[in-house]
Amino acid sequence: MQLFPCPFCGSRDETEFHYGGDAGNIRPDGAEVPIDRWADYLYLRTNPKGTAREIWVHMNCGEFFVMERDTVTHKVLSSAALGGEHAA
């Protein structure tokens, strides 16, 4: 069992977490969004081999956060509360 760091609860079992998509995938704003831009936002993914910045949710506390992870070794590089581009 791998441990993931929740920025609010500390290290917890991987099974308590759920993947939420690429970090930085911001919903397009406004009424005149072209179809390709919507398709890009809804479906296209970076899916990197190596270092990835991802949104995760810790299902026990319900908090979303950003985790940097290596998708080959599964090593966690950093974990931080949402901010900046994703600030509410």
Partner: protein, 417 residues
């Protein structure tokens, strides 16, 4: 020199001391250019090359494989062949694959050991039986064999299932496809490789793509670990790593890569002569010709390129197996492994030209690419030869994510992914 496999050639070679056998495929040095290049030496890539040579009369073809052929998902799946899908588009696609599988051993002169032992998708409640009846009706209307099974029918084909009154997932019936079954996965790769090689296709292993040659906005070749190789038409069938190559070509795909695990027990005497899938347990089980119990389940839910599984998913799968078949409690697990699969939002593959002209895609098969190998190869070969879709491949074009014409086969994939 023996090139064709038959009872007679086996007999002759027996008399000749087994000295005339040839390697099943040639391993030539790559040429500087070809009419078409296929990236990826798995089942889909090798099948593409074979059908290019056989159906499209294009034999100056190279298959470029970064490791060894059949060493990715083709060698890591659970060998199930079936076509029990819901939508007409999917039935056309998987039905084509299923029919080609039925004639494949003869077509390739290579025994792929197709065993049409039937498959039952169990229904665990009255509501699931209603959905099961709807699925069976849809399949029959679309021209695919399917039958709605009663609990007695299920008991007849899988008597060792857990029918006890306190079973967590009781049997209300099931969806039966009698033509479904298993095939020897390595043989599919080797058979296509041998048949393609005999038609003149160059199979080049240990040849990794490092970059695409892009001139005038078109893909005109690839840079590889064994030098530049040029072609006007390039196909890629590299499930698990589709996004990695797409990034080199300058576009993104609607794909996330996940690990899908499987495992086998020690070999035992014949005890299960069909494929049984329990949606409740999230597990499907069959027995290989060697006697191993072959076990597959759901995805590891962590995006990954590591070709190994995580323990929590394996634990869930094993718990499911024991719920389905308590008799397997004494079995020892012999091997466990994982492959990296392309997961697409609508659980349907992507077949068509990529955003980079000249580069064609065969990817996004999710957890079920093995069963589709003959169709994936036929359709990519058609695209490479003609540059155009046919009626079967058209609905699976990448443009469906912009037009919204998704083909949501989440249920057809069998296990909730």
């Amino acid at each position: 020199m023996t090139t064709r496999y038959s009872a007679l050639s086996l007999f002759r070679e027996g008399l000749a001391g087994q000295t005339g056998w040839q390697p099943a495929w040639r391993s030539p040095e790559p040429k500087p250019s070809y009419d078409a290049i296929v990236i990826g030496g798995g089942g889909h890539g090798l099948a593409t090359a074979y059908y290019l040579a056989k159906n499209q009369n294009i034999a100056r073809v190279a298959v470029l494989e970064k490791g060894w052929i059949g060493g990715g998902n083709t060698g890591r799946n659970t060998t199930v062949v079936r076509s029990n899908y819901y939508y007409p588009e999917s039935v056309e696609l998987y039905g084509l694959a299923h029919r080609l599988y039925e004639g494949l051993s003869k077509d390739l002169n290579y025994n792929v050991m197709l065993s049409q032992r039937g498959m039952v998708n169990l229904c665990h409640s009255t509501a699931e039986m209603e959905i099961g009846a709807r699925t069976v009706n849809a399949m029959q209307i679309n021209g695919i064999d399917a039958e709605l099974f009663s609990p007695e029918d299920v008991r007849r084909v899988a008597p060792i299932y857990n029918f006890s009154p306190d079973a967590r997932f009781p049997v209300f019936g099931g969806i039966w496809q009698g033509r479904a079954g298993t095939a020897r996965h390595d043989a599919v790769a080797w058979g296509y490789a041998r048949a393609a090689s005999r038609l003149g296709v160059d199979i080049i292993q240990n040849c990794e793509i490092t970059d695409f040659i892009i001139e005038g906005g078109r893909c005109r070749g690839v840079q590889t670990s064994r030098g530049a190789i040029r072609a006007e038409r390039i196909g890629m069938a590299v499930a698990g790593h589709s996004s990695v190559l797409a990034a080199k070509a300058g576009f993104r795909l609607p794909i996330n890569s996940y690990a899908l695990q499987a495992c086998v027990s020690e070999p035992v005497k014949p005890i299960l002569d069909t494929v049984v899938l329990s949606p409740g347990c999230g597990v499907y089980v069959s027995q290989s010709d060697k006697g191993e119990i072959v076990i597959g389940g759901g995805l590891d839910r962590i995006p990954s390129y590591a070709q190994r599984g995580n323990l929590p998913t394996l634990e869930t799968v094993i718990a499911g197996v024991l719920e389905m078949f308590p008799i397997f409690g004494q079995l020892k697990l012999m091997r466990q492994w994982a492959g990296i699969v392309d997961v697409v939002p609508d659980s349907s593959p992507i077949i068509g030209e990529s955003p980079l002209p000249g580069l064609f895609l065969n990817c996004g098969w999710g957890t079920g690419g093995f069963k589709a190998i003959p169709a994936g190869g036929t359709l990519l070969a058609n695209l490479l030869a003609t540059g155009k879709h046919n009626d079967i491949s058209r609905p699976f074009d990448l443009d469906r994510f912009a037009t919204g014409r998704l083909i949501d086969e989440a249920a057809g994939s069998g296990i909730a992914h």
